[in-house]
Symmetry: C2
């Protein structure tokens, strides 16, 4: 049973694993790879070393049972709810090597091979989502800014994705829930563990109203390296990430770097300069690595998707004679820059004069709206539109 | 006596006056122009209309006496303390028509024909200066941010120039004085009037420790249009202007627009997004019309002049084998972009990949340090350096 094979792989190969990803991309199926690991097959390549210590550890039945006991399921690229679009875009971008922001993390810029999920189908909850992250040592200001932003996003059908940590993350999740919106928590430990313990109730509520996910098998403790690889999932699953409050060396900056390296829209909320709470936000804006946003409206405008339309725009959209007339100015710039014969995203970005991450986001959105088609890295438009 | 002629012109022609500036630039001396106005000479051109109502009003002796009574003097382009460099750069830039930010104010983008001054020689106080302006309706946060910035600037020998208004302006002046630094107040009314009345003591202290200046003859009341033309002087006299706290329609934004239109460095301090106090600052940063700065160090780094060198830089400077080795990275980019045969500032900016205002500022600084020469709009470097 394939589910057992995936569970076995998830246990013996701690994600992210580039060698496992390469074998899967090369067409080997999970059963074959699982068998290869157990039998120390010659074609394992680098995966041989990665699985040397754990290859005999077959806890698949137990892991699936432990997950089921807390209401969690294992999802894989074969599952209908797998967020293919998000992962393809993010890790496809990273694979082009266009961004040098991942540096030492480049090896980890691969999708998870499987995810443990509680709550709603992940593909649905992240379909229109924003990463909202920040420091655990949040100030009253940071909490209030987060509350306003997450509430504004939730009210406009944007899912708030965060890491479930104390401080800003918690405020983001709680505000989204309070506004009746969707929220996704990406845990850095097993799906059967509640970390931080203080957030036990919040996590259960997310499992009920949104999605609670983890890349790690049941029982896995939260450790420093897992926070960093967890951050990549927050960035990969969302159209953009906003840091609300982050001091000089906040982990939230790592999430923002992931968003940058994965070609997502990077945003930062400013704050008082008389304290150090927003130092990291200000630095990223100064460096031109994040766009200044002051609220949910700015975020929605930058991400420019259908959910971001205001009343006037919806009116125009409803009465536009053609779908092209209904496009916003930036959407139109991107649309016009696409050659009917096909263009690479980089070429479109240059022609449109927009940042590449924003261009990719708008291209994807135009595909969703049926105005463009995408074939691998090539985007095309119907010349008759 | 020429001083009488200037005083007469200052009274009958309210500055800024482009027609008067054009006559002066065309080589007519102030006595001749004064005589022409009194006699309604045919060559007055547009100045005839501007002086029709007031031409018979000769209060020159009285104005000079009223000014002397409060310890003020009248300075003109003939005075040693006239800030020629600052005005040439600012209004020279505006005259190129490169900026469309002045819009309806374009006609006013000319230097004053004379200034009333109390305190230190103006040319000296503004030689290394920054405009620090903001809302009258300042919050506690705005006041504290201003205090930190003005103190940091004053400590590093940067003069704080502002408008003397309540709120941010007052905090800027007071903090500069408290730090033992220089400060300049540009009044929007006659030099013999204390406005706002609450700042009487502050203005007297500025007259003692810095410079208190006005473009208007004694007795002139503050009126709305004078605040706007006063703002242009804050922008023109300084290397750059920073807005510390400015809501949606704050007058401080007008000063920042002047700085932009006059080719000066434009900066804005972020603040809490949970209130509206910093809305104008955030908008300008989002629009790319101001650079985000969080403190005096950022401002000094952007303005990049000698006074901004930190200890390590001073060490490097002291031990650099040649003046060129002592240049900062941005200074070097600009220096290298200048053709020994001569380059326009716009060409240098493009070659250096830096904003034009910053480029002009660095060019000027390189001239001051003897590394470049300037001939009108052409900048040259010695090929042997």
């Amino acid at each position: 049973m394939s589910q057992r094979d995936w569970a076995y792989l998830n246990r013996v190969v701690e994600g992210p694993s580039r060698p496992l990803r390469q074998l899967l991309d090369a067409g080997r199926d999970p059963s074959e790879i699982a068998r290869g690991i157990r039998t120390r097959a010659s074609w394992l390549g680098e995966l041989a070393g990665q699985t040397e210590a754990r290859h005999a550890l077959d806890r698949a039945e137990q892991d699936l049972a432990d997950a089921a006991a807390v209401g969690a399921r294992l999802i894989t690229p074969e599952s209908p709810e797998w967020p293919h679009t998000e992962f393809d875009l993010a890790f496809g971008f990273a694979a082009t090597g266009r961004s040098d922001h991942l540096r030492s993390y480049q090896a980890d810029a691969v999708p998870p091979h499987a995810l443990w999920v509680r709550g709603r189908p992940l593909g649905e909850t992240v379909a229109q989502s924003v990463g909202v992250v920040g420091t655990r040592a949040a100030t009253r200001y940071g909490i209030e800014a987060t509350r306003q932003i997450a509430t504004g996003l939730a009210t406009h059908q944007w899912t708030v994705v965060s890491g479930g940590a104390l401080g800003i993350d918690t405020a983001a999740h709680e505000s989204a829930l309070a506004a009746g919106g969707l929220t996704v928590v990406v845990a850095a430990c097993g799906i059967d563990r509640t970390y931080p313990a203080r957030n036990a109730t919040l996590l259960e509520r997310i499992a009920g109203q949104g999605s609670w996910i983890s890349e790690y098998p049941p029982g896995t403790p939260p450790q420093r390296h897992r926070f960093l690889t967890r951050n990549r999932l927050v960035a990969a699953l969302t159209a953009g990430t906003v840091i609300v409050e982050a001091a000089w060396r906040s982990g939230a900056l790592n999430t923002l770097s992931w968003a940058e390296g994965l070609g997502r829209v990077t945003m930062a909320v400013p704050g008082p300069v008389t304290g150090s709470g927003s130092l990291g936000c200000h630095e990223r804006i100064k460096e031109g690595r994040a766009q200044l946003v002051t609220g949910a409206d700015d975020i929605r405008a930058l991400l420019g998707a259908a959910g971001a339309l205001d009343v006037a725009e919806q009116y125009e959209l409803a009465f536009a004679a053609t779908p092209v007339q209904a496009l916003s100015r930036n959407e139109l710039r991107v649309f016009d820059a696409v050659d009917p014969a096909g263009s690479e995203a980089q070429t479109v970005a240059e022609a449109a004069g927009l940042p590449l991450p924003l261009t990719v986001h708008l291209l994807l959105d135009l595909v969703r709206r049926g105005l463009l088609t995408r074939d691998g890295t090539v985007w095309r438009r119907d010349d008759t539109l």
